[in-house]
Symmetry: C2
Subunit: 406 residues, 2 copies
């Protein structure tokens, strides 16, 4: 009998208890032993809920129980999750988590402690919810030099952008609808400002490239400035606008990592990833392009990923899963050197303004759409962010700029 | 130093040697030890090729060399691959392979021998080329009861269907072009008749559902009867036609597995999987829908998957990776009980024929397209294959029938 303790009985924690209970037969078969949740730690009481029978309020009960070999941290946030995780690992218990903040902040240290204690610290559910991307990077794409890992890593923003594209609605209205449907939190800042996607690409790129990338170093833009008009222009040239988190290997062992809205075309596998779905795109030097698609959030998909980790921990007690992610910081290129094309909306008419724009930007593609008489858009050739900024300063009446990978 | 031997220096085998050589630094880092190919077995000589230095013609040299702990079987076919694999496992060496015929035929026996000898038999590259679906099923989606696993599992047929849709060409012409471009073999039967996809879905469903499914038991249709006209009709209602291999869990512990062309709409994640790309769709009872997309064939992507297995074997010597795939046969429903909608093309005019069709099929959606004056199409409601056959017999002038998941 393998016994686990779940820290935090919120959305994911209660999902973990539910998944282990509902799929217990097949899970125990795959583990090769019975798997049971012995304790749930939460400060709250849950009168009438069966969890009451295994509910504890004192973490030491779990820590000091030698029967508990697996600790499932689904509390979220930094404290006390960090302290509890460290104590569990030091006590020789393996830990798995859905806590992206903690992994992004202290992942390398916690993995090192796990290795020293010959146990494991797993975090499949921290990126992409139910998409099994962490283990794929760690155990499947091991023959590859990863050249790029990018993705749609936040369900809330993808829901909003999909809604805006489908209904022609503005950001504020789509956000309200997302909140009404439970797809956005009342305080949606972490999602819409791109912070959630930023934490996730920090983890994914650290794992893919083997060095630590602190999330604070990643250039991050959210979607609050995307308008219905931007999306209409994008649609008119067959593109969609997605909040992409991208990480690319550049020359000289350096990397380019950023989070921002991007125009992408139908030949991009991420183009048709809609609503609350997430997807991770990986390009390897031998494999070429691949993509992993699924529910990026939600109670049961996320809990399923956590329990997948529990199964791995149960199958491999005292067998550290080596991860190639050192504490050495990743070498990033200067953000000004990052290259892409730029989609730019300007006021005025193409007839009047294009000559000036061409003088600055050279050859551009222009886009005009019905109903927008006193503005138009253009897409530049590929250039660096620095170069774009210098050129932009020479043009008046710019309404919006969105990067374009087309 | 971990030493491997590669059996067969064909497309995949030479790719394995190339991947291990080109990515040696990162591969050895991930293994935690140097990885080297000590022998390549092939009956042929390769004068001038560096492989000559490690080429052997006698399998016993490999078998009897205690330094070789990993055997990579990339010969294909049943013999002598089966005999060589069995001998390697019995000698306590782990084996990995890209040989779907062998896995589909003797997988359970070879896995059992591996388990008895506390080594491993891995076959990531046998299904979906570079898509890491085997390890995902085996180590990631372990908290799930899998309800469906389906996919576009053959690059040749997907290339042909994509070409037909893009150019409006007929099957024979698209096939010739595929052959000219190296995407179809000179004898393309195994691909276009669906046999290749059939072997792969036999392996995937056995792994997903835990019981052995012999490929001969799977109802299989190829794409040779798909015409340019069928694709025009499908496009007119926003659908594409794909060769799908589908395996679904039904009531009472039984399964429905088949390979056939299917009409799918843009809301299906497989809809935009084009050209030689493959994709595997998985629906779990907790996870919901997920999809894994990538190069389904090709020398380096397939070799990358094989080398991913080599890395796993090197990291876990003498530690059997338990796979839940028993030798007990899978319980299939009668093919006549399989349910879907049916797209049917008939000659005549809708005005003249529809009343009779409605008498037999009830409410149907009709499709007429410009340029096709003496024929039309209709899509039935969902019914069983048996029911469809009985109804079809009552209608004259049927030109083609394709299953529809719309």
């Amino acid at each position: 009998m393998i016994k686990a303790a779940v820290l935090g009985f919120g959305t994911v924690g209660s999902g973990v208890v539910e998944v282990i209970e509902r799929n217990n037969e097949i899970i125990s078969k795959r583990v090769g032993d019975d798997l049971k949740v012995k304790y749930v730690l939460d400060l709250r009481e849950f009168p009438g809920d069966p969890v009451s029978e295994i509910l504890v309020h004192d973490y030491n009960i779990i820590l000091e129980d030698p029967e508990v070999s697996i600790v499932v941290e689904t509390m979220g946030g930094m404290n006390p999750a960090y302290e509890f995780t460290k104590k569990a690992l030091l006590a020789g218990k393996s830990v798995c988590t859905s806590n992206k903040e903690l992994v992004a902040e202290h992942g390398p240290e916690l993995m090192r402690i796990a290795k020293e204690k010959n146990v494991n610290y797993l975090f499949e559910a921290s990126c992409g919810g139910g998409i099994p991307i962490i283990r794929v990077l760690n155990t499947s794409l091991t023959a590859e030099v990863i050249e790029e890992i990018s993705g749609i890593l936040n369900g809330t923003t993808n829901y909003i952008l999909t809604k805006m594209a489908a209904d022609g609605s503005e950001f504020e209205d789509a956000l309200k609808e997302a909140q009404a449907n439970g797809y956005a939190e009342r305080n949606p800042e972490a999602d819409i400002m791109g912070k959630d996607a930023c934490r996730k690409i920090a983890i994914l790129s650290s794992l893919a490239f083997g060095k630590h990338l602190s999330w604070e170093r990643i250039y991050t833009e959210g979607i609050a400035d995307i308008t219905a008009a931007d999306i209409k222009y994008a649609k008119s040239i067959g593109c969609s606008i997605k909040l992409l988190a991208t990480a690319r290997s550049m020359e000289g062992g350096r990397y380019s990592v950023m989070v921002s809205p991007v125009l992408i075309g139908p030949d991009n596998p991420l183009y048709s990833v809609n609503s609350v779905f997430n997807a991770v795109f990986v390009r390897g030097n031998m494999l070429g392009d691949s993509m992993f698609y699924g529910s990026g959030a939600g109670k049961l998909p996320t809990a399923s990923a956590v329990v997948g980790d529990v199964v791995e921990l149960a199958k491999h007690p005292n067998d550290n899963v080596m991860m190639e992610w050192s504490e050495e910081p990743m070498d990033l290129i200067d953000q000004g050197m990052a290259r892409s094309r730029f989609f730019v909306r300007v006021n005025g008419t193409a007839a009047g303004k294009l000559p000036d724009i061409q003088k600055v930007f050279g050859n551009v593609e222009t886009i005009s759409i019905p109903g927008f008489t006193d503005e138009f858009a253009f897409v530049t050739q590929e250039m660096s962010e620095q170069e774009y900024k210098e050129k932009e300063a020479k043009i008046s009446g710019i309404l919006n700029m969105i990067r374009a990978r087309i």
